[in-house]
């Protein structure tokens, strides 16, 4: 029996944002996210204190889904980052770090939140216009005709997940595999509505990463199949294998979910009737020269034997998740009736093989048109494999987003510093009428803009975990990292060799300045130079769509939180 409890009155917290507890929890969350960010990010171990599974990770999706926060305002922030990750897979930490830092910076300003929101919205629109314009100096266009940029994109995703524990050859190997798998999923004959195929990740744990491989077609795990025997599969005249795909159970069990009753006379077995019907189906399959039968559910042993005797291969228990790629790959329509088989339901395959990887046996279906492929992903242990799988899925998603919008942004903190210097430069010559539109003064605008730029720069700074200096140059506005242990007065050009994204070398004097130095942030005189981007080999690139959306979502969420004036918490 349920106990009746008196309803508690709701908790009314006014002035929620000025409370000390919020700034403490916010800065804690901010520190957690910042310390995870980037290729040199620190790993987090998540466990629940009573033993069991331990998750070692530095990815926002893994951390945020397991973290519980006490402050309701922070749960809004976390939900927003999680929603972003579920849409774009990438740039979750970027969004989280930027959002925290925007809130902290804006809160410390002595400007009404309403004004802050209007101004920051204007700043965001400046950024977005710039990012979408041709003149944007921090984006590169992706040419799908050459592999370099694509490889850079995938490599950046993999290297930014240090918990995968990959060394350089492993990164290179996986990068090519992921790209290969992606190219498999692009259909060869593009009509007006091209639909990308699917890459299915097959787990193989306990092997080296370099053992991973990608295969065209599908792998169905079948423990009982014998490896030794050569496969005798019937082929049609055009040397193809005809496949029938069933989504209805062929177990011969009776199931009647309908209402109403069925009365059966003594001595009549409906099971036999069902089985006879199944065998009839078998006969028709034989007549139609089908070579392979795949069933989502269970096939009756008698039918299986019958099919085997007629040299038809039968695979059952394929599972719901494989049905869609199977029908996409073979062109067959899943059959839901054992009473009528239409010849138009059948599909075709190029070949069927039996393969074995690390003590697992698979039936390998090889299609004519490879829009579906399988990535056999190996890693040493469970935790690292989970992390690697997430990284691979992210990379796959990033490639899909990039094919829709063939652009990429410079990584390694360069986009952030470049945008910050662009904004600082841009707001110098803003007309008075725009201030009037926003109902604010020039000073207020500059205060907010400064907070915005410092937040962007702090994201770039959080890539650095070793205590060295972070610089920006006054020509391109890129981000440069100085190794730790050098005094900050030395000649910068001796200490830096490459900028964060790797596009600029330190050959010319680029007039470096400390980012977030004590002297305040420098304002570039004259326009930022636009580097005619020649994609070098090891460039750090970020997904354009994910980062743009992350930037917008971070600002919108920060605005949302700044706008909260009170919290009503139902305590029941």
């Amino acid at each position: 029996m349920s106990r009746l409890e008196a309803k508690k009155p709701p908790l009314f917290i006014s002035e929620a944002l000025t409370k000390e507890t919020l700034s403490q929890s916010l800065s804690l969350l901010s520190r957690i996210l910042k310390s995870c960010y980037g290729p040199a990010g620190r790993l987090k171990q998540l466990h629940n204190g009573v033993g069991g599974y331990v998750c070692t990770t530095s990815q926002s999706s893994a951390i945020l889904s397991r973290l519980s926060v006490s402050h309701p305002v922070l749960s809004v922030l976390m939900a927003s980052v999680q929603n972003h990750v579920s849409r774009f897979s990438d740039c979750g930490l970027f969004t989280g770090v930027l959002c925290c830092s925007l809130i902290e910076n804006f809160k410390s300003l002595n400007v009404a939140s309403c004004t802050v929101i209007k101004i920051s919205k204007h700043l965001l629109s400046l950024c977005m216009d710039y990012l979408k314009s041709e003149a944007c100096g921090c984006r590169v266009s992706v040419d799908f005709g050459s592999l370099e940029t694509l490889l850079c994109l995938v490599r950046s995703v993999l290297t930014s997940k240090p918990a995968c524990m990959l060394n350089k050859p492993e990164v290179d190997h996986l990068t090519t595999l992921i790209l290969k798998a992606f190219l498999f999923t692009v259909p060869c004959h593009v009509e007006t509505n091209a639909v990308l195929g699917k890459c299915i990740i097959v787990p193989v744990k306990g092997r080296r990463v370099v053992d991973s491989t990608v295969l065209p077609g599908l792998l169905i795990e079948t423990p009982e199949i014998q490896l030794a025997k050569p496969l005798a599969v019937k082929r049609t005249c055009s040397d193809l294998i005809k496949i029938a795909l069933f989504c209805v159970s062929m177990s011969g069990d009776l199931f009647s979910p309908e209402e109403g009753t069925i009365t059966v006379h003594h001595g009549i077995s409906l099971e036999t009737a069902e089985l006879n019907q199944l065998l009839d189906v078998g006969k028709q399959l034989v007549n139609d020269e089908v070579g392979l039968v795949v069933c989502q559910k269970v096939i009756h042993p008698s039918l299986k034997q019958y099919l085997k005797d007629n040299s038809i291969m039968a695979v059952d228990r394929a599972g719901l998740s494989l049905m869609e790629p199977l029908s996409q790959m073979t062109g067959s329509k899943p059959i839901a009736s054992i009473h009528s088989l239409s010849p138009s339901c059948y599909g075709s395959l190029k070949d069927v093989r039996v393969e074995s990887f690390a003590s697992k046996r698979f039936v390998h279906l090889i299609p004519n048109d490879t829009v579906v492929c399988s990535l056999l992903l190996c890693n040493r242990n469970e935790t690292a494999w989970d992390e690697l799988k997430r990284a691979c899925e992210t990379a796959e998603h990033v490639l899909q987003l990039t094919i829709k919008e063939p652009l990429a942004l410079l990584g390694g903190g360069c986009t952030e510093t470049h945008l910050a210097s662009y904004i600082r430069h841009k707001i110098c010559n803003l007309s008075a009428s725009s201030f009037k539109d926003m109902d604010c003064s020039r000073t207020q605008y500059q205060l907010v803009a400064d907070g915005f730029c410092r937040s962007l720069e702090s994201v770039a700074c959080s890539l650095n975990h070793d205590g060295g200096e972070v610089l920006t140059d006054m020509v391109y506005g890129h981000c440069w990292f100085v190794p730790s242990g050098f005094p900050s007065v030395s000649n910068w050009s001796d200490l830096v060799s490459k900028c964060g994204c790797g596009i600029n070398g330190s050959t010319e004097n680029l007039n470096w300045r400390l980012l977030q130095g004590p002297l305040g942030s420098p304002v570039i005189q004259g326009c930022l130079k636009d580097r005619s981007v020649k994609v070098a080999d090891f460039l750090a690139l970020d997904c354009f769509a994910a980062k743009c959306s992350g930037l917008q979502v971070a600002l919108e969420t920060a605005n949302l939180i700044l706008d909260i004036s009170y919290v009503i918490k139902d305590q029941n």
Partner: protein, 707 residues
């Protein structure tokens, strides 16, 4: 347990409520984060949500919240303002000492001061939204959304909502606007995780589920709506299948299968390419649909089915009829039907061809978190309700008409309200003197003339008067007219009255029903003598009106019955309504300042000291709203605003208005009236009695069974 209720306690409770909602008021107000018991967060600035979330304990405070919410439900706006104004009035009454005299004076205030202030003063300042309808619509929309959305996204959403309105309801037809307000939950889709800037308007409908079977089809296609499974059951519900042999069993299974196939084939032969089903269909149906190139969408909600029926004008197709081979008549036409990826969810996107004024479009709302999308959707739905109010008007009819109005509204939404107004009506009818009767008669007649005037307007479908008439249909005119007939039956002299009335009778004519209602009351209370005179009077008026529209003549006609006071008020403005349809004012407290000024102005002319006290209380309470609106700006901005406005009024200059947004004066006026009613009601309570048993609502329609 019983506890006393006094003004002090009420004022205290109202002030606490006002404190809770004040932070979210106006364009500079902030959001509230509501945390549900499940941990889900909802962001809102909606007064109704806030009041509900507070889950109040004291019954009187709950009543205040309920009144505010019912006002909000009827007009789509103003729950927070309601609470603030209520707190102001109650606070003022407490300062004035409370007492029964003041309570009675509230009624008199409404009749003698408030209506005059509106008619004599406020009316001059009103702007009309009728010319440039769509522009005004957008200005009202933006102002409305300013009060419910954060400063970052309001402009964008107002523009989007304006575009949505334009595309869905070209020409802002009230019929289409109403459908929009009613069906908005089905007409929008929310995508969390994307920036608000990605929100957009799509043509057609979006059903938030994937195709069960999708067969690409180009060009225009026909769709069929079904509500039952297409596969015939082996043994029907309650039926019994007798299996005599294995062969028979297999044959019957085969029959079921072939029957399903035949049905789908029949759809295909009628060139139906899309099957919309509210029931879950069997795998077999999906399989055959795929074979025959019919796309299937299943598990539609009943609201979605209703919406599709409304837009396309079709009714669900019944497959097991006799016409299994005939043509399917009930097909909807869609220009396209394709999958749509919203966020990471696959949806169905169908472009139905509409048969009504409403052009189906879907609003895709994007926001970083679900809570924001919910806030936006709620705000937009409220906006559509508000837009419908924009073209309503308030008729001049002092007590009776006001009661009638609020009763009509109350019938829809507000149980508190309705009981209160009905009670008042009864009290009034008993305590009325004969002067009052004639006054009411006069009003009734005037209302009638007004309807007459409005008649030519009613014909034009574009005319705003339509809004009013249509919206008041729920008051059930027929039954009331019936009641009237019964009442007059014993009264020979009034027989002839029925004729002109019947002539002008039409469904939805509210004034008529109201009048007959009034007649019934009068006859019951005062007997044949008065009513005979009364009826004769109306007949005379009707005759006059049938001939022409000369109102002055008709008012002279009944001069003997007239009371002095009502004569004055008729002379002031006899020809038009109190607030014209489509009247608007700029936002930002102008309505309150104006009303404040004119209430004080007319209160000076009032002889009764208690009414003067009330007038001052209400006038001061009205100022709390602009005060709260100016709360977060720099200091003294309210004083500045106030002095500027009042000086301009004293010098008879136009007000210095620099706000672009507009608000409906109808809503604002209704708000003041509702607050006054709520105060009256609260003050009438003297004791709160706690009972152990749950209170059961008395169902009104129980008695219907007796007929």
């Amino acid at each position: 347990m019983a506890s006393r209720v006094d003004v002090g306690r009420l004022a205290q409770e109202a002030a606490a409520l006002a404190g809770a909602v004040r932070g979210a008021l106006g364009p500079r107000g902030g959001r509230a984060l509501l945390v549900r018991p499940t941990g889900g967060a909802l962001l809102t600035r909606d007064g109704r949500r806030l009041l509900e979330a507070l889950s109040l304990e004291p019954p009187t405070a709950r009543m205040m919240a309920a009144c505010a919410c019912s006002h909000r439900a009827a007009t789509g706006d103003g729950a927070k303002t309601f609470v603030l104004l209520l707190a102001g009035v109650l606070g003022g009454l407490r300062a004035a000492g409370g007492g029964g005299g003041l309570r009675r004076a509230l009624r008199a205030f409404e009749a003698q001061v408030l209506e005059r202030a509106v008619a004599g003063g406020l009316r001059r300042h009103l702007l009309s939204a009728l010319p440039g309808r769509e522009a005004a619509l957008e200005a009202a929309l933006e102002a409305y959304l300013c009060g419910r959305l954060g400063p970052g996204e309001r402009r964008r959403l107002a523009r989007l909502c304006g575009e949505y309105c334009r595309r869905c309801a070209p020409g802002a037809r009230p019929q289409a606007l109403r459908l929009l307000g009613r069906r908005f939950p089905q007409l929008h889709a929310a995508v969390p995780g994307l920036p608000v800037a990605s929100s957009r308007v799509l043509p057609g409908l979006v059903l938030p589920r994937d195709f069960a079977a999708y067969c690409p089809a180009g060009g225009e296609l026909r769709a069929v709506l079904v509500t039952q499974p297409l596969r015939p059951p082996l043994a029907g519900p309650g039926g019994r299948l007798l299996v005599g042999s294995e062969g028979r069993y297999r044959a019957s299974l085969r029959w079921v299968s072939s029957r399903t196939e035949a049905l789908v084939k029949h759809l295909q032969s009628n060139s139906v390419k899309l099957l919309l089903s509210s029931a879950k269909q069997e795998e077999e149906v999906i399989y055959y649909a795929k074979l025959y190139g019919v796309s299937v969408v299943e598990c539609l909600s009943s609201e979605e089915v209703a919406l599709i029926c409304e837009i396309t004008g079709v009714s669900p197709y019944v497959p097991f009829g006799d016409n299994a081979h005939g043509e399917i008549a009930e097909t909807a036409v869609a220009t396209f039907c394709r999958p749509l990826l919203l966020g990471s969810k696959r949806c169905v996107h169908i472009g139905f061809t509409s048969v009504c004024a409403f052009q189906p479009h879907c609003l895709i709302l994007c926001g970083p978190v679900d809570g924001v999308n919910e806030q936006h959707a709620a705000a937009l739905q409220g906006a559509f309700i508000m837009l419908q109010q924009l073209f309503k008007r308030v008729d001049r009819s002092e007590e009776c008409k006001a009661d009638g109005e609020s009763r009509n509204e109350a019938a829809d939404v507000c149980s508190w309200h309705s009981s209160a107004t009905q009670k008042q009506l009864v009290v009034e009818n008993i305590s009325c003197n004969s002067n009052r009767v004639s006054e009411q008669q006069l009003k009734a007649r005037r209302d009638e003339t007004e309807t007459q005037n409005a008649e030519p307007d009613l014909q034009g479908s574009e005319n705003p008067a339509c809004v009013q008439t249509n919206l008041q249909i729920p008051s059930n005119p027929i039954s009331r007219v019936k009641g009237f007939n019964v009442a007059t039956e014993g009264d020979g002299s009034s027989r002839d009255l029925q004729k002109p009335q019947a002539k002008r009778e039409r469904p939805g004519d509210v004034t008529e029903s109201y009048k007959s209602d009034l007649l019934t009351d009068n006859q019951e209370n005062y007997g044949p003598a008065v009513s005979a005179a009364h009826n004769a009077n109306i007949v005379a008026a009707c005759e006059r009106l049938d001939v022409g529209k000369d109102l002055e003549k008709s008012s002279c006609n009944i001069a003997p019955f007239k009371h002095e006071k009502s004569c004055v008020s008729t002379a002031q403005s006899y020809s038009s309504s109190l607030i014209e349809a489509g009247s608007v004012l700029p936002v930002g407290g102008y309505f309150e300042i104006l009303l404040h000024y004119y209430i004080q102005y007319y209160a000076k002319q009032c002889q009764q000291p208690e009414v003067t006290v009330i007038s001052n209380v209400v006038a001061d309470a009205l100022l709390t709203i602009p005060k709260s609106l100016h709360r977060t700006t720099e200091r003294n901005s309210f004083t500045k605003f106030y002095l500027e406005a009042i000086n301009a009024l004293r010098k008879n200059q136009p007000l210095p208005m620099n706000e672009k947004g507009l608000e409906s004066v109808y809503c604002k006026y209704q708000l003041v009236v509702s607050v006054l009613h709520c105060v009256t009601q609260l003050l009438s309570i003297d004791l709160i009695i706690g009972v152990k048993r749950p209170l059961q609502k008395i169902e009104d329609n129980d008695s219907d069974d007796d007929f």
